[in-house]
């Protein structure tokens, strides 16, 4: 049993490829752009374009596609549920009914909506995963901080905000590792997580989540002490070991993303939505 195996969000896969060496700001802006585009896409053709782009990035960054997508596995049941809800509950006037059962009826509009929304979630997740897989935590922090710099002027504690976000991201994996150990420790005392009725299964969560929360608080406290012991006092007056530098590659990547966005926007505007 290994819980951490399928967790890809927040994991950095070290490498030396074109994608890895891009300035983190380029990657963050590109990711934000892709996310925005994803929110407006309503045609299958645009999703095909996205898929091609993502596979191309994975190949350039030498990330095994199987690994990039395995993080989606735990989300599949929720996605399926969402898809079913859309299928039966979403409808537009004039939509044709595909089939009906008891009081439920599925329309083609619902089917399209279900497909589009599921794909949207899948792609949102994959795009963000690619960002963290190819960007180390340190450069991610530096990049975000630098991008949020203008907000400092209006008194926003950007450095602290970014630090909080990054720590949260890091803790996904740490907590999963702890969860793995706790589950094993309780299984060793005879908890059968896959047996029993609903009430018993719910009761089985206590021996797992109580130690998890207690340990999480303990870890957080230790982290605070460790940071303070090294004189962390927020963003003020903090200098950087590595300064960020935009190069020609970043310019090229930027241009490429622009081109891609124009193409997608063109598709969004010209192709009538499937619904």
């Amino acid at each position: 049993m290994e819980l951490t195996k399928n967790i890809t969000l927040g994991v950095y896969l070290p490498g030396n490829t074109l994608i890895h060496t891009l300035d983190p700001r380029t990657k963050i802006v590109a990711t934000a752009l892709l996310i925005t585009l994803l929110l407006f896409i309503k045609s299958y053709l645009a999703y095909v374009l996205f898929l091609i782009l993502i596979i191309a990035i994975l190949i350039i960054a030498t990330i095994p596609p199987g690994y990039a997508f395995c993080g989606l596995k735990p989300m599949l049941p929720i996605l399926l549920l969402m898809w079913i809800f859309q299928l039966f509950l979403y409808s537009t006037p004039g939509a044709t009914v595909i089939f009906s059962w008891w009081i439920f009826s599925a329309t083609d509009a619902g089917l399209h909506m279900g497909n589009l929304i599921s794909m949207r979630v899948l792609f949102l997740f994959t795009v963000t995963t690619i960002l963290t897989l190819t960007t180390s935590i340190v450069s991610l922090t530096d990049g975000l901080e630098s991008l949020l710099n203008p907000l400092k002027k209006i008194g926003l504690p950007t450095q602290e905000l970014v630090m909080t976000m990054i720590i949260a991201l890091r803790f996904v994996l740490i907590l999963a590792e702890e969860l793995d150990k706790i589950i094993k420790a309780q299984m060793a005392r005879g908890v059968a997580f896959d047996r029993g009725n609903f009430i018993q299964k719910t009761r089985n969560l206590f021996p797992v989540f109580l130690p998890l929360f207690i340990n999480a608080f303990k870890r957080a406290e230790e982290l605070i002490v460790a940071m303070e012991a090294r004189s962390y006092s927020g963003g003020k007056g903090r200098t950087k070991m590595k300064t960020l530098h935009m190069g020609r590659l970043d310019l090229l990547a930027g241009l490429f993303m622009l081109l891609f966005s124009v193409l997608v926007v063109y598709l969004i505007l010209t192709i009538p939505p499937a619904i």
Binding site: M1, K5, P64, Y67, R189, P211, I214
Partner: protein, 288 residues
């Protein structure tokens, strides 16, 4: 309940870019009533190996057979197996969760669906075995315990399941010398009085030398030595090479041997050393 391991291999994070082979082609057999020490440098695969003994991990290749039952078989009753093969984890914080010590120790027997009276008896017995006074600690808040007391409560929680085999995974790590001694005495006593098969994982040569009858040395996922305690320590040089330390006494006796004393190669206690050195001096066998 003998444990038999045949050609066991296991990789961590299999199928991802982080895949790493932790165990390769392990073969061993642990018989009833033995006290086996598993030692090796960090990342040698000690915990991974031990977690196969109660099916917390399932082998990629090879088989683990406990009491004649292949653990990979569908009909193997793993819940029952885990009550018979107790596992105490390194960090008690992963295990303790009930508000009081008594309730937490009762957690295992409750999972066995025993009658309340029997659970009560088990808790009483387990607390006595690890030397926690029932009246003082039964209702004690679990977070009010010291490090050593927490370890003992965790051991009691596993003992209350009445295991025939007990795996102790680095249970003295991070304790002060007093706490270590207490835990070691508890383990020693359990093995002698209850004849529980004990598998003791540790980094500390001193502890292993004092406790184990047989030692399995793991290095990079393979069994380097598997022999009686005295025999294993004859390979002093090799043990140091893979990053282990010799027991404190042997640091001195190995030097004396190098200086020309005629001493046996493996000396595990101070008493033994005193006698051997005295004998060697009397015979006047010192060359130097």
């Amino acid at each position: 309940m003998p444990i038999e391991v045949n050609n066991l291999s296991y990789s961590y994070k299999k199928g991802t870019p982080f895949e790493k082979q932790v165990l390769s082609n392990i073969n061993l057999k642990i018989n009833d009533g033995e006290f086996v020490g598993i030692i090796g440098p960090t990342q040698a695969g000690k915990t991974t190996l031990a977690q196969h003994f109660n099916a917390l991990l399932v082998p990629d290749q090879g088989r683990v057979i406990v009491n004649g039952v292949d653990l990979a078989e569908k009909k193997a009753d793993l819940v029952k197996l885990r009550h018979n093969v107790g596992y105490v984890f390194q960090n008690p914080d992963y295990q303790l969760f009930e508000p009081t010590v008594g309730e937490d120790i009762a957690f295992g027997p409750r999972n066995q669906n025993l009658p309340p009276k029997e659970i009560e008896n088990r808790v009483l017995e387990a607390m006595a075995q690890v030397g926690l006074d029932y009246d003082t600690f039964n209702k004690r808040d679990i977070f009010a315990l010291s490090g050593g007391q927490k370890r003992r409560a965790a051991i009691a929680g596993v003992l209350a399941c009445k295991p025939q085999i007990m795996i102790l995974d680095d249970v003295t790590a991070g304790l002060d010398p007093g706490g270590r001694k207490e835990i070691i005495n508890v383990i020693k006593k359990l093995h002698h009085e209850q004849e529980i098969t004990t598998i003791y994982i540790s980094n500390s040569m001193d502890e292993i030398a004092a406790l184990a009858e047989r030692i399995i040395v793991l290095n990079q996922g393979q069994v380097l030595f598997d022999d009686q305690t005295g025999e294993v320590f004859l390979h002093a040089r090799k043990l140091i090479d893979i990053g282990l330390e010799l027991p404190e006494v042997m640091n001195i006796t190995t030097r004396l041997i190098e200086a020309g004393f005629n001493l046996p190669g493996a000396i595990l206690s101070i008493d033994q050393a005193v006698h051997a050195i005295a004998a060697s001096l009397q015979k006047g066998q010192v060359d130097a």
